[in-house]
């Protein structure tokens, strides 16, 4: 009798296996990640920063990275923090935040969101197919991030390099986001 695999239930990404892009842009689903939505008052930001091992950015539209974790400024008391890993249930980020022992809210959204990496010389043009932000390097430099709209869905956009963006989108919206990005990619290559 064949041995049963102990790893019966495996998670798959909502966009696993898809690929797209054009001559100017490459579209690919990002690796699974751990994510939390973090809310904390201004007086306790430094305690959470110490617990997570990175400085939570307090300036609008900025992000910071350290120790494999990245924190994105979403609002005056709201951050999106993500880290590599996250195939399993339960997040090391919520545990790290809890170790701060100050009042905060850290919601595990590892599997609510998925991410699409948009890279290539036409990346900004591709995103501007559905996003009204000014994505020039002056207005949206490397490391800049923002919650905004892409077509009809809400995304969190992060510029990781001059020609590379990370699009964080809710998993049920990811088909739509990927479809619109594919159309944008086609237009960007014209």
């Amino acid at each position: 009798m064949a041995e049963l695999d102990s790893n019966i239930a495996t998670r798959s990404l909502p966009l696993s296996g898809v690929h797209g892009g054009s001559a100017a842009v490459r579209l690919e689903p990002a690796q699974p990640a751990e994510r939390i939505n973090l809310r904390v008052g201004a007086e306790d930001v430094s305690a959470l920063s110490a617990a997570l091992g990175l400085d939570l950015p307090v300036k609008p539209k900025t992000s910071s990275s350290a120790n494999g974790r990245t924190a994105l400024w979403i609002g005056p008391d709201e951050w999106l923090v993500f880290a590599d890993g996250g195939g399993s249930i339960g997040s090391s980020l919520t545990q790290a935040a809890a170790s701060s022992n100050v009042v905060h809210s850290a919601t595990d959204i590892s599997h609510r969101n998925t991410a699409i990496l948009v890279s290539g010389p036409g990346a900004a043009a591709t995103l501007n197919a559905g996003c009204a932000l000014d994505l020039s390097l002056d207005a949206f430099p490397i490391g800049a991030c923002s919650r905004t709209l892409f077509g009809k869905v809400e995304i969190v956009l992060l510029r990781t390099a001059e020609n590379t963006f990370r699009v964080e989108v809710w998993r049920s919206f990811s088909d739509y986001a990927f479809g619109l990005l594919s159309e944008g990619a086609r237009d960007a290559a014209l």
């Binding site: 609008p60 539209k61 979403i74 005056p76 709201e78 009204a132 932000l133 905004t148």
Partner: protein, 118 residues
């Protein structure tokens, strides 16, 4: 596309990211159980619906998520000023006020062109 200045994001963002959230500076009574029905109706249901300069609450719902206050001209749809929630009603900067008046005179309203001309 209308651009709206978010006082929390500190930049102009597309109107698509915002939602209107009613008249600003409506103060909840200290002891709401003690007020009369008329006073409650005034507080709860009745709004001024002013033509021209109005103070409104807006929410940057697809951005930072914050409520803030805006002074807006309902005739021209122009945002004259935005400021953070919790601040008292801010006076308009004088230059903006004159620009608003000039704008109002040059805008063709329905009453001027179609309605019973006054």
């Amino acid at each position: 596309m209308l651009l709206i200045h978010c006082p929390y994001c500190e930049e102009d963002r597309s109107e698509l990211e915002f939602r209107w959230a009613g008249e600003a500076h409506v103060v909840r009574p200290e002891n709401i159980a003690a007020i009369s029905d008329e006073e409650f109706a005034e507080f709860f249901f009745l709004r001024n619906n002013e033509k021209g300069l109005t103070y409104e609450r807006w929410r940057h719902i697809h951005g930072c998520g914050r409520f803030f206050n805006a002074a807006r001209d309902t005739v021209s749809d122009r945002f004259l000023m935005t400021y953070k929630a919790g601040l008292p009603k801010q006076p308009l900067p004088v230059a903006e006020k004159f620009a608003a008046i000039a704008e109002e005179k040059s805008v063709e309203t329905w009453e001027q062109t179609e309605g019973d001309a006054r």
